[in-house]
Symmetry: C2
Subunit: 277 residues, 2 copies
């Protein structure tokens, strides 16, 4: 059996009882390392907290490992229980359908253990999840690569009065350009897009495209470390959020659409310059 | 402190370690009874399973109770820890912003414990969550009340190639018409919309409105008891799903938009008449 187990968003305490029971029944435990383990402590310390809780060693698996070793993982899973741990939910922002499809093709049983994902946890700000349009991803711009397809999606959402969840780029284990040229892989340090960079890029694209989809007075909600003990949620205009202190990653951003009174009431308690009263 | 704790979708095992720790620290434990407790055993048995796990008695709170007793709940929460348990996620399909807003106004600290919601767990079928448009709710039609605003939303989603999650009506503790006339409340037995009824209503509205948004050959995915041990996921046309056996509630339905190859591959394993190979 292959268990794909969502760990939730905060730390080791966010696994479900079902998930913990499953992982304890497994001979091998892999943990995906291609989104972000930050909140779970990417350090050896963090992993050992999990190992202690599970009573099992954990094999960190980046995207390459999963691709290269999928056959081994799945042939193990045919004989015994194997866990594949995923931060958030197995089918949330980063999906693991590839592994499931391969498992099904090989006739390996798969069980999913659901958990919270950034896709539903943003509900905490009071904007109702069913009033969101299509989710967009904002990639790090480079000198030569400044893709802006998110702009059209945000436009469509805003034309309909819908909120937009912006997932911000995560670069983990990106090979350096130099190493690619030399054919020997070396990796860039991990990079996580901040709300500040996201808003700067959003405003740059508005400048270029000029369809007045949003501007620096557009209301947004910024989230940092959603689900962890020190999560930060701040509502304000793009301009206000540019100078707000969100601290460590991960960050994400919601561009607010038309709001209902009950959404407004809840947003107020997160709004800059408003007391939570 | 008021803890609002998501219980997840399956049964008592879907609470997180963080949630369990919080509920065990609480003097009073309320559980919302206005969505569905079916999967958690609405019977006294189900509740006692939870009570045993938590080591605390549970007070079932329907919407009226929460509205009437909110002041009591919140004044308790000012002096001691109080838990409010919610099936799924606190801000998923049914939101609990009212209670949070009231708590914040009274200066009561609130902590949220996230969990899986139907809004992210539908990801299991392989359709990517960021490719969904606005979520729609399908209410039970009556002789005289046949609202169809969901039709326009589905049209907009389909025009953009996006998937649509349809949440199906739940009627719990609806006063009977007779009892309303007599001024003494009696309640209808709970009703949960099945996929069959949802599709019948969808097709009826297409007949009336006639904008060719979908038809009986439109591809959908039906979900029953998502997150529980016997969850059922079937992909097929509306016509096929009309005669598919989904069993007990809760049901929900996704109308499939344009698909990417990786989404297709995953859907195949759920498709009627296709082997999961």
């Amino acid at each position: 059996m292959l268990y794909i187990i969502g760990l939730g968003l905060g730390d080791e305490k966010d696994i479900t009882l079902r998930g913990l029971e499953a992982v304890k029944s497994c001979e091998k435990v892999y943990m995906e390392a291609y989104t972000s383990l930050l909140s779970f402590g990417l350090s050896s310390d963090g992993i050992s907290t999990l190992e202690k809780l599970y009573g099992r060693p954990i094999i960190l698996a980046d995207r390459e490992t999963v691709e290269e070793k999928a056959d081994d993982i799945l042939s193990d899973a045919r004989r015994s229980n194997v866990a594949f741990l995923v931060v958030g939910d197995p089918f949330g922002a980063t999906t693991h359908t590839d592994l499931v499809v391969r498992a099904k093709k090989l006739g390996v049983d798969v069980k999913i253990v659901y958990n919270a994902s950034v896709m539903n946890a943003v509900g905490v700000c009071g904007l109702q999840l069913y009033r969101y349009g299509e989710t967009v991803s904002i990639p790090f711009f480079t000198e030569t690569w400044r893709p802006d397809s998110f702009y059209d999606k945000i436009k469509r959402n805003r034309d309909l009065g819908l909120h937009t969840l912006c997932l911000l780029d995560i670069r983990v284990k990106e090979p350096t350009l130099e190493s690619l040229c030399r054919g020997k892989k070396q990796y860039e340090p991990p990079r996580y897009m901040t709300i500040k960079i996201a808003i700067e890029q959003l405003l740059e694209v508005e400048q270029t495209r000029g369809l007045s989809v949003y501007n620096e007075d557009t209301k947004c909600v910024g989230f940092a470390r959603l689900g962890s003990e020190d999560q930060t949620v701040i509502a304000g205009t793009m301009k206000q959020l540019l100078t707000s202190e969100f601290g460590l990653p991960l960050h994400c951003l919601v561009i607010v659409g038309e709001t209902h009174p009950v959404e407004e009431e809840m947003l107020i308690s997160y709004t800059i310059g408003e007391d939570a009263k």
